[in-house]
Symmetry: C2
Subunit: 804 residues, 2 copies
């Protein structure tokens, strides 16, 4: 009984690290012992603010910190360009159904009616996702409005008092102190309790939908920290928006609702058990993300497109329609509850957390000769966006190296909050842009500050306000509300503030600050055009240019395309601007891509996530599966010795997550004929339930395992170390036939990389077995093997895999 299992030793090209399943402590705790492990883990712990994945719990961190301090200092500079690395610590998700015998039996037992019930429950779940996401958005909105309102009222009264009596520095201290205190709260939550809740969450959700498992990203705790954190950030006056985090929130809601249980709360509602697998969960998470976008921007169609653009690879009509349903319900819920809150119950025509206000048809017409101007603005947006991204990239590298302790992160956040307040105050103070306080003017907190009575300070409209309101003012205030100098200074300062802010250990989005920067310079463009042109009536509306500028700046930073166009159109509530917005976004993307990638992609790369793009690099046809695959592969026999399985799973140097199952052959070194594929998680469940065949007595000692057992264990499978297998049991055999996927997708060795890539990506695979022409296993292609190849400036580049 020859065992063809091979003990491989590719420390640098292990299949997929199985950190969560094979270690007991935290999902992200590194596996390797020795100096490598802690070093890299420490480094990642420091990235928490940006995009924090799998860091150690704080207690552990502190312990290790004292020990490894010197080592870290000496070695952090070893990987200065870690966007050229792919981390091995990320696992993949199984977006391909594991069609084993158990599953097929269940499916075959199910009646037509059963499938219809399932379909109905999918709709119910999507409705719930939309409803809850809408509620959360509503909660955030009301909380922010009230708290920020309170803050600005207090400070305004204070400033007005001190303007008369002198001693404005006390106002400044009050403002800065208040901001820093609120931001500190949010930052502590994020930095100490749930680092993954930092930032906008969009890169994380992108990765999740792409098929990369980001630990803790869809947990209840993450949601709570995210929601409270974003309220603190916005109320704390940072240059951030509350829209990005809604997408993450929606995704968490979706992951929670669709599973019918909460692992954190230890509550299982025994519902939706069928949905407890990665494929179904992903579909719901798509819906949740869409619902989030929809609630944030009042853009249900934009939400659907966002989900599709960022996530789905296989377009399915029913799924899309369900996603759309979730989006609609979410907007509707938010809309309805806000209308109740605003005492206009039932008026549903004002959707979204942000809306750009009504652009009425008369004022928004544009003419043919304006198109080149719009394109030029798009190019400017692309340039500024690229500058923003480059600065933020450097800043992030700096943060990864030097600002990795949670307390440092909190201090940095407080510093930014204080500086933001100070800069705002200074700008308002030195501004002499006084505008008459018209009765129809709807500024909520007009600051008089050195202006005559009946006038207000225009700089304050931009700075002394929540960013959402500022954007709206820039779009809709009468021509002449701002003078060019104000706008220029505002753009300049806000640009750097926003750039500094993104990546702090706070929960916050970059959409609104981008829009605000763009709206400011866009309006400036409009004003300048009007002053240069002889016929000023042609350029009457600077608000139009503010809108175009906002689109250009946002496009230049995030580089989203179709979905962003639709989101902008839906947020303006007017389709007339579709074409110019599209042209502008396209120009911004082309110009920006020339210099550097989009902000989210930068952060994904800096985290060394094995992210799969839409297509393989164009010039990769000379690579074949043979070169790409990992080989040799650890295979298991169809009926395998328990001891071998335990040893294979426990072997920390080969942390595979999937094992080809081969038919029993007599040959020795010859690879076996493929007959299935089994996952680490399945083996763990089998071991836990002791599904052993005692050969001596030749009888089955275990009860028949059900699909339910696998579902109950999903998604947090215990690590192998926690499973005790006695010496006797090690001698038993395990029959994998029923549990393995008997029909894994395979490719021949000569398949070109683009072809392998297409199969892998289109079907959302995690493991693709490479076979020779006798159907013998010769290799395994995983996500990392494909993500390694990417198109650099000078052609195809290969990233290094590293145990980070």
């Amino acid at each position: 009984m020859a065992n063809i299992t091979k003990k491989v030793s590719w420390s640098s090209r292990a299949d997929e690290s199985a950190s969560s399943a094979s270690t007991g402590v935290g999902e992200g705790t590194p596996l390797l012992n020795g100096s490598e492990g802690p070093r890299f883990s420490r480094q990642h712990a420091g990235e928490g603010s940006v995009f924090q994945i799998g860091r150690l719990t704080t207690v552990e961190l502190e312990e290790k910190m004292t020990a490894d301090e010197d080592l870290i200092r000496a070695q952090t500079r070893e990987i200065p360009h870690n966007e050229k690395l792919l981390s091995l610590k990320y696992e993949g998700l199984d977006y391909d159904n594991i069609e084993n015998q158990l599953f097929l039996e269940e499916e075959r037992r199910m009646s037509h009616m059963g499938f219809q019930c399932l379909e109905i429950s999918r709709w119910v779940v999507c409705g719930l996702i939309g409803f809850l996401t809408g509620l959360i958005a509503c909660f955030i909105d009301i909380a922010v409005e009230n708290l920020a309102g309170l803050k600005y009222e207090v400070i305004k009264r204070n400033i007005e008092n001190f303007t008369e009596t002198g001693g404005l520095s006390i106002s400044l201290i009050l403002w800065g102190g208040f901001n820093a205190a609120v931001v500190m709260m949010g930052s502590i939550l994020v930095a100490f309790f749930e680092p993954i809740a930092g930032g906008s969450g969009i890169p994380q959700i992108k990765c999740y939908l792409n098929g990369v498992k980001i630990p803790r990203v869809v947990r209840l705790k993450t949601l709570i920290v995210k929601v409270v954190g974003v309220i603190c950030s916005v109320v704390g006056g940072l240059a951030v928006g509350k829209e990005g985090p809604m997408i993450h929130s929606g995704a968490v809601v979706a992951a929670g609702v669709s599973q019918g249980r909460s692992t954190s709360l230890k509550k299982d509602f025994k519902m939706f058990e069928y949905f407890r697998r990665d494929t179904e969960k992903r579909d719901f998470v798509s819906a949740g993300a869409a619902a989030g976008v929809s609630a944030a921007f009042g853009a249900p169609v934009g939400g659907v497109l966002f989900s599709l653009e960022e996530g789905a690879s296989f377009w399915n009509q029913m799924l899309t329609w369900r996603i759309f349903f979730a989006s609609m319900v979410s907007t509707f819920t938010l809309n309805f509850f806000l209308s109740v809150y605003n005492k206009k119950t039932g008026d549903l025509s004002n959707p979204g957390l942000i809306n750009f206000g009504r652009f009425e048809s008369e004022s928004v017409e544009y003419y043919f000769y304006e198109i080149p101007l719009f394109i030029a603005m798009g190019a400017l947006g692309g340039l500024l966006g690229a500058l923003f991204n480059v600065l933020n990239y450097w800043l992030t590298i700096f943060r990864i190296r030097y600002v990795h302790r949670p307390c440092l992160q909190v201090m940095e956040a407080m510093l930014v909050a204080a500086v933001t307040a100070t800069v705002s105050f200074t700008m308002i103070y030195f501004s002499n842009d006084c505008q008459p306080l018209a009765p129809e003017n709807n500024e909520e907190y007009p600051l008089q500050l050195f202006c005559s009575d009946g006038e207000y300070n225009a700089m304050a409209t931009a700075f002394f306000n929540t960013p959402e309101r500022s954007v709206r003012s820039l779009f809709h205030n009468q021509p002449g509300s701002y003078n060019p100098l104000t706008l220029g200074l505002f753009t300049l300062t806000y640009f750097f503030l926003a750039c500094w802010t993104y990546g702090l250990a706070v929960s916050a989005g970059v959409f609104i600050p981008s829009l605000l920067i763009g709206a400011a310079w866009g309006r400036l463009c409009g004003i300048l055009l009007a002053s240069f042109s002889s016929n000023s009536s042609l350029w009457a509306d600077p608000g139009k240019y503010a809108l175009i500028g906002a689109a250009a700046q946002l496009g230049g930073i995030v580089r989203m395309t179709l979905s962003l166009t639709v989101i902008m159109v839906e947020a303006t509530g007017n389709v007339t601007y579709g074409l110019p917005i599209m042209l502008v976004l396209m120009t911004a993307k082309i110009v920006g891509d020339y210099f550097i990638e989009g902000l989210y992609d930068i952060h994904i790369k800096l985290q060394s996530v094995p992210f799969l793009h839409w297509e393989a690099p164009a010039t990769s046809h000379w690579l074949t599966a043979r070169e790409v695959m990992s080989s040799p592969v650890t295979c298991l026999n169809r009926i395998e010795n328990v001891g071998t399985i335990v040893d294979t799973l426990s072997n920390t140097s080969t942390n595979h997550n999937g094992f080809p199952v081969v038919a029993h052959t007599l040959g020795n070194d010859e690879p076996g004929k493929l007959c299935g594929l089994i996952l680490r998680s399945q083996l763990i469940v089998l071991l836990k339930h002791k599904v052993f065949v005692e050969l001596a007595r030749s009888r089955l000692t275990h009860r028949k395992l059900q699909l339910k057992d696998f579902r109950d264990a999903y998604p947090r499978f215990p690590p192998i170390q926690s499973i005790h297998v006695s010496q006797d049991e090690r001698e038993c055999m395990m029959d994998l036939t029923e549990f393995m996927n008997p029909t894994p997708y395979t490719v021949p060795q000569d398949t070109s990389l683009p072809r392998v890539f297409k199969l892998f990506r289109a079907l959302g695979l995690r493991h693709l077995v490479v076979v020779d022409n006798e159907n013998r296993v010769v290799g395994l292609v995983t996500r990392k093997d494909l993500a390694r190849y990417h198109m650099g400036k000078h052609g195809l580049e290969e990233l290094q895999l590293a145990q980070t």
Copy 2:
């Protein structure tokens, strides 16, 4: 040297009929001799009006007609339910790249720069597609406006004359005669010259994008007939729209432009040769269809979603963005030229062939309590849509049986035109709904007709107008412009007229008539609600209900979902109605689906097209590849005898299009090990270029074949009969190694149907090889094998394959 090629005899389950490649005359001429062939072909020739595919040329038809007349009469009733059949005459398209050595060599030679140039040319092509589609839309619009304007002016003056002098019957004859004459022209074009240009073309484009080759669907001749035909239909006063045909037109433009040549005009521009394969062409056709929708409804985003919903299975970001670009350019072009034509050069804010007019924000607000009403209207729309579809289904079956001669088709079209005019006239004549002619009223052709001076006949607003204008009037006319009886009668008559009209041998769409019917009963609902309610101001705007009714009716008929929502929203130019429109469309779909499928799906089914839906039927897990596949398979050796190849290709009983290539084995009956897949079209090109190895002299007598040779032959490969192979040459061998696809996708025999389906659909395959665990070929899965299984009312049903 054993040849394991098998002569199979599955007359009822041949792989894919290779009609176009193996017969000389017409792409759709049936292969089989004997009574079967002509019988079915005749029957299909009769379906031209609805969805005419692969009919004989008229000359051939006439010849056969005299001969087979009796036979046909006797046998037509044999297949009364031919929606339960799958026709074998349709070929598949190769949406999976054929990655053979030639292709890989070319790709490997290409530099990074080369790929960038390709990418740029893709954008250029998409821009051109958009531009040309926009121009065509513009041409249609201007032609229709002018001709219809002329017609209505003449008739109006005539009616006014005769109203005074008596003898209105002359007006009626003038009207009816004019309509019939114009429709006759359009119908003759369609019925005699290009039957595939009949109808809206949407089902045909759906099939094309799905991967079914519909002969002649994207030819220049089709485009010309389509465009002229649609002008005739609309000017002829039929209950049709000019919007549907735009989608088909866009697709033809795309197929033409992207190939850089016109086979019909025998002109090769030597451009875009890289795009001469099905995969690339499909992408451009998607863009063309989107551009068509975009031009028709001024809905660029709706166009993209239409393309994706109906066509693409693999969502690719860059592709989508290009499609969007084409859509935008198309709207923009139309917009710009129309603005020039309307003497308002540069005013781009009025997009689309139809637009629903501006719904201003104040008038369009809706309230929470209206939602249930909207849903009820959606249900009504679903019911009426189902009724429409059922009636049209019966009518189509009737037409397939009895109205299959082109001259009969023309006569039917003329009859419908005359009846439409008569009914309209009668309705206007007997209507006593006189409305004051307000100065702000913008009716273009107000008919006084029995009304006092200063009044006009409201019924005439609906009937005496192009349908587009009627829709707009129903949406926007002041409350009180129509009385309920007028609307009720109009709905009733127009419903039956539209139902009768769809499926005639004219080029025309069903969108606008559906909208018109829906708008009429929707407005009626609004008026009735207002009259029942105590507080009439709440229900002040019947236009709102007209819009909802229009959405409900259209949704009930065509059952499109996401894309239709977006199209409606973009056409109204206001996003406020997003939610109600979605709810209405969803309700209409659910209610309608309970009774019968959507109109397009009905017509696809009646044509027995092997159309693949999004997913395999839910209850099909008990089927495996073993049951589904066609077997045994005709295989070829890697180095094959030319005679064998010619015989295999010429064998009319096994019209395969793809042949697995197997390694040379010594066994006799044992299936060979798979080493590639080669297509009939490739073999044809090889035979044509005499790529033979003369074994005796052991040298190569042919020049090295290039990819260009295959591209030049694409897509109209000559039939095998036209290639002469001498007896000497039959003895030669052919080396297929370089030309076959060495890495076809395979599945094991035990793979479940849903899994096979997913692979096939996601990658757009045409042939999927089934192998055993030794990698030996045991079967082949093609489109028809998968399309056979579908979900009926009582569970899984299996369609019969037939040589139609």
